[in-house]
């Protein structure tokens, strides 16, 4: 297996790990971290593939992903703060006002 394939497999594994975390973990902050982990997996694969194809567009997309990830976290953290202030816990199972 050459290094490109190895890196692609690694990036897919990171992505899958993040996805599992988002689904399985109940702590809100850990869920957000896992979301970032998914994005990091994507970034690794983008960097690998654009390096291989010698393309700058891929690198530009990587920077856009950084910006968007930062924006997402900037919205997510205040939401988690609001929730934590209301329920005094970060356990996702405590937030069950919406059901049906």
């Amino acid at each position: 297996m050459d290094s490109t394939q190895l890196l692609l497999v690694l990036s897919t594994a990171l992505f899958a790990l993040g996805l599992t975390g988002v689904i399985v973990r109940r702590n809100l902050l850990v869920m957000l971290m896992c979301m970032e982990l998914m994005l990091n997996g994507v970034i690794l694969s983008l960097v690998t593939l654009s390096q291989q194809a010698a393309s700058t567009t891929g690198a530009v997309l990587v920077f856009l992903v950084f910006v968007v990830a930062a924006a997402e976290i900037a919205i997510a953290v205040p939401i988690v703060l609001l929730l934590a202030r209301r329920k005094h816990t970060l356990d996702g199972d405590a937030f069950t006002d919406l059901r049906g």
Partner: protein, 459 residues
């Protein structure tokens, strides 16, 4: 790149951007809180008008070749989405007057417009994110109700997962085809390479998540219920329309290969059945609409089985009919406390209190259920006719059966309004803005009901 093309082709986007800046300046410059909704309304209307002019003038131009181009189809999509947001701004009057709602709404619309003109995955990704990020904050604006924060968080986490999935798909498409152009997606669908297969499936799943197709629908009912009524109306109509129209653009030049038929037909079919069955036991109007929108996302993705020109026509007609009818129902909801106004119990005997609202909601429900002569029927007919023409008769029959499961809960709303005696106290007559919003939806609906062929010929 020449300046004139940039100015003309991107006129709707420029107007929205100017509007955002204007609102910021107004907010900074004024000491007391002032009502910015009239300004917002003018901006959205101007942008919609500009997009409609571009469409009617058959304008085509590429201000940023390879990234951003405008053709009549894109201009029409922009005009539809911007037009559908006019009633949303009109009914926002009672709930939001500050700059936050307006600025977030305009940013989100800017993202949607970018989405329809994107030629490369870069612009597509930026458009999707620019459209969704403000909506997370819009859901949060109903902060008076504790559950709004929870709904916003669920939406954000699942939306973020969807974004990551889309990006991985984009990255794999690039790996398989060596290009970030949207046309690379069609190439990836046609190729049998493992990487290309994975890319197509990932991109498709991301779109399913953004459009709330079962089993990726978990966020929709919670986010719809958590948001206040105008924001729910915005999510159910504009965001859904934007995601679907972007998917149509992405699928340009794609004939669905046999290996993908399972994914494109089965999940939407499950979505129809599950959405319609679950909607039956909802007690909240917004939650019911959420499940109904899950079912409608199913019908819309069914259209992708059909052949190319008919696909665009069917999807955009469906989105216009569905969007108008949904808005009509939201606009006519009785006024009152945001948390209780949409309980279905609250609709009991509405006909005796406010016949105008009750009749309009009833028309909207019948149309959403797809009963002739309402436009919802024509829209469904177009979709299923295309699917049958493409040779998927079995799927079309299954879809048709699944779609008419929904009749029960739409009729239940009508039964609540007409057949139960409510308090006799007459409802206060609707505010002028709300009445204007209902007219905004009603006039096009009447037009669509009486002359559906007129619009279809023009698409």
């Amino acid at each position: 790149m020449n300046t004139e093309t940039v100015l003309t082709a991107m006129l709707p986007e420029h107007l929205l951007l100017l509007g955002i800046l204007l609102l910021l300046v107004l907010e900074i410059g004024s000491r007391r809180e002032r009502d910015l909704l009239p300004v917002t309304l003018v901006i959205v209307f101007a942008a919609a008008f500009a997009a409609a002019r571009l469409y009617l003038g058959d304008y085509a131009g590429a201000p940023f070749p390879g990234q951003f181009s405008v053709d009549p189809a894109a201009a029409l999509a922009k005009a539809v989405v911007l037009g559908l947001s006019i009633p949303v701004v009109l009914i926002a009057g009672g709930e939001f007057s500050g700059p936050r709602f307006s600025i977030l709404l305009l940013s989100s619309l800017y993202g949607a417009c970018l989405l329809f003109s994107s030629d490369s995955f870069l612009t597509l990704f930026l458009g999707i994110e620019l459209m969704s990020l403000p909506v997370y904050a819009l859901v949060l604006l109903a902060m008076g109700r504790p559950e709004s924060v929870e709904g916003a968080l669920k939406y954000l986490v699942l939306g973020g997962a969807g974004t990551a999935t889309l990006l991985l798909g984009i990255s794999f498409t690039f790996g398989a085809t060596g290009s970030f152009e949207l046309a690379a997606f069609a190439e990836a669908v046609a190729s049998g390479d493992t990487l290309a297969r994975a890319a197509v499936v990932l991109v498709l799943l991301a779109f399913y998540l953004k459009a709330a197709v079962v089993p990726f629908h978990g966020w929709a009912p919670d986010a719809y219920e958590a948001a206040s009524v105008p924001v729910t109306a915005y999510m159910a109509t504009v965001i859904k329309a934007a995601v679907l129209l972007a998917a149509v653009r992405l699928f340009a030049g794609v004939t669905v290969p046999a290996s993908l038929v399972g994914l494109i037909a089965a999940l939407p079919l499950v979505s129809m059945v599950w959405g319609n069955l679950t909607a039956m036991r909802q007690e909240s109007f917004r939650r019911m609409i959420a499940y109904s929108s899950i079912a409608h996302a199913g019908y819309l993705f069914f259209a992708f089985l059909g052949a190319e020109p008919g696909r665009y026509e069917a999807v955009i007609f469906y989105l216009i009919a569905y969007g108008l009818m949904n808005l009509l129902a939201f606009v006519c909801l009785p006024t009152g406390n945001d948390a209780t106004r949409d309980r279905l119990d609250n609709l009991k005997g509405l006909f005796h209190r406010s016949p105008y609202a009750a009749l309009l909601i009833a028309a909207a429900m019948l149309s959403l259920a797809g009963i002739p002569p309402f436009p919802g029927f024509v829209a469904k007919f177009l979709i299923f006719r295309n699917v049958i023409d493409a040779g998927y008769t079995g799927w079309a029959v299954a879809g048709l059966i699944g779609s008419y499961l929904g009749i029960y809960f739409y009729l239940r709303v009508i039964q609540y309004m007409f057949m139960s005696a409510g308090e006799e106290a007459a409802e206060a007559p609707p505010r002028a803005m709300v009445f204007a919003a209902s007219l905004c939806c009603l006039l096009p609906v009447v037009l669509l009901t009486v002359f559906p062929g007129w619009l279809i010929d023009r698409l």
